[in-house]
Amino acid sequence: MSADRPVDLPEILDGTLLQKPVDRRDALGLLLGGVAASVAAVGACAPLNAATPEERELKLLEWEEFTQKHYRRMTEEERAETIARLERLAKLRHNEDCTIATTDAQPGVLFGYAFNVSKCKGYRRCVEACINENNLDRHQDTQYIRIFEMENGVVNLEEADPTYQHEVPAEGHFYLGTQCFQCANPPCVPVCPVGATWQEPDGIVVIDYNWCVGCRACMAACPYWARRFNWSAPEVPPEEVNPNQHYLGNRDRKKGCVEKCTFCIHRTRQGRLPACAEACPTGARVFGNLLDPNSEIRWVLAHKQVFRLKEELATEPRFWYFSD
């Protein structure tokens, strides 16, 4: 095959360099040798450390956490086991002593929320309380609640400013807050490929953080921008951690899962108001049981002119806006 080639012309010049046959065995050997060498090099730089008992326990618990079932398929014993494991994991990972509840929805309760646009003055006390109550990531500054400063006469969210940082209330402006509206027809629930998010009987749309695979289809589906993703491992200063937690609410989350407002499920299922409603200094937030005809939320719906955002999308949010 090379008989016709001029003898003294190097391969690089006669254009057959790349056509030169390569011995397959040599090639394979080179490949495997290269792989072995790089593995050795990498291995030398990252020594496998001998695990301490805590680290072994942590690894074992993390494996169990990874293989745990979907929350809705767990029996009572499995739930208790899961809670114990999560509390122990919080202790091992962050030295945190917490209590994680699994309180179910109370029968005959359907939560509703009303927001008084005249009363909100844009203080963002609700945001502050929410961050602390729900152990939100400080590094990414996750905030479930958004307060928009809007010019009087303009009800266009695109022209609203959520990043105002001046004395409020500003003349000629009003304030409107958004968060997860726990829609009755939630568009975020059917899109989850693994069924990690669902609506509880009391209306709260919840997420099993350990089941979520982080595909973020729900974030694309939400018309109200209610969901947040943990782009990195959430960091909460240990002295600011809220130890009263709920499995479906404000417990420790890991990177790679979606989270959102749960109407403070750890508080509201105990009969308390969500942190935002309780923190609001002006009483702009009204919360209660929609199925109770004597609740404040029902009074507002009956006596005030209410509206909801993006009504045409038929999401049926359980969050109304009204004014004085």
Binding site: L110, T163, T268, Q270, R272, T282, G283, E296
Partner: protein, 241 residues
Amino acid sequence: MRRAPRATTAICLVAVAWLTSGCQRDYVRWDQPPPGTAVLQIDSATAASNAILEPGVLATVQAVPVKRWKGPGNQPFDVALRSATPEAGHSRVFGSITLPIALRSRAAALSQYPCTSCHQGRKVVMANQRISDAHNNIKPVHPDQTGAVCSTCHSADDVELLALKSGERATLDESYRLCAQCHFEQAEAWAGGGHGKRLDGWEGRRVVMACADCHDPHNPAVQTRIPFRAPQLERTGGYHP
């Protein structure tokens, strides 16, 4: 064509029929729980007895029943009394921070309470014009706007009582009776739940705050303040090894 296409067509038709038959999602209204869950009607009284309040939620708040107003569903409700430590009833712990939850910092405004600390007898002669050295910490914005004088609201024969237009007297904790004389719409909303704050949870005993707890009666307008920090829209992410 041959046999295979017919079989495939049959399978496709069956699949389409099956898929289109069961795939409708029920349209749910906001006042219905998710499909497949039981609906029980429950009233406030039952809810109150079901309530599992955390200890200490209302421990710092003393309350008395509201006179002459009924809450939603004609239910009675309570109004918070001024307490010895006014801050306690008006701040809450969220996570690890304590936030004041009322608009008005009461301690400073009540620095001159009780009245008898200066006024030895309860009866006082109230001038129609302000005496130069009386209550100079109070800016009479609301009286000036409405043309009121001190005796319009404060009873001359008992300085710790409020004077209602009907001739009755109300305690300082019943400021709602006074304010409602003019602000009847807000009073209705307050009784119903659309105005003002509720101090306990959403179920259980309804304890609200009186008007003067949030609104300084002499300068009731909401004051401006600097808000909590704004969200960062542009994330400065990235990996810097």
